[in-house]
Symmetry: C2
Subunit: 162 residues, 2 copies
Amino acid sequence: MTTTRERSRTATITKPSDREIHVERTFDASRDRVWRAMTDPKQIAQWWGRGNTLVVERLEVERGGHWRFVEQSHSNVHGFEGRYREVTPLERIVCTFEWDGMPGHVIVETMELHDLGDGRTKLVTTSLFHTAEERDGMLNSGMETGMNESYAALDRLLAKPE
Amino acid sequence: MTTTRERSRTATITKPSDREIHVERTFDASRDRVWRAMTDPKQIAQWWGRGNTLVVERLEVERGGHWRFVEQSHSNVHGFEGRYREVTPLERIVCTFEWDGMPGHVIVETMELHDLGDGRTKLVTTSLFHTAEERDGMLNSGMETGMNESYAALDRLLAKPE
């Protein structure tokens, strides 16, 4: 039944307020396996860029640490960066997120991993924007498609042995 | 009458919304003189730290550029950093502001310089926080005293020949 589960696997997106986006997505892997895929630079490079080359320039997964990724497709180079506000291993990361194309427009992302048992883990992400306009801009930017592509790539990584 | 003007010179602080702080402060210098004091690393080092040593580690005053200052007193070291969203020379800077002590808590600062004529310039700054709690935390942190000390140091710098 794995195929059926994968086919129906898309992220659930809701809007708890006019400055937030809430996303829930379940993965067929243990919580520690998903945690490593989200915090190990070699593993991040295999899914975050959705098939595009991803250079992890900086990744300091600790309070106050910075991160910076550069995604390279055949036609474009996009940089992303931020800083960790809070890191609770296996459970929770709070960090900022900023795209070079809109410098200084900063999103606060709270990511929590919930162990569902039976080798499944739910990732719950809440993104807080400074303004409703920035939130709506993100929703209209093709974010949902890109995110689902990234998570599908993460599914494929999680299905492989480490 | 210069002495009287200096004695009464404090910043005017208002709260336009529950996530903002608005500050107005007039300086006895031309707009281009104030602009240079705000954007030249050697000049910033002379006033931003209110008498403490200030190391300007990074200062890229352009859209997408980063800044990072480290203030060193006899007992403490405090880092501050951010990124420029918008730079209109002599007129306007929009950048983010983050203190190392609260990493990932990001303020958007909009600074505008208004030429009042007669060799005077008004600096108008609006700070936007992600939450009302962060705004109130800043107001309760001694921000007003520190800011007035910085601006008094800036007054002294502006009174000297460049």
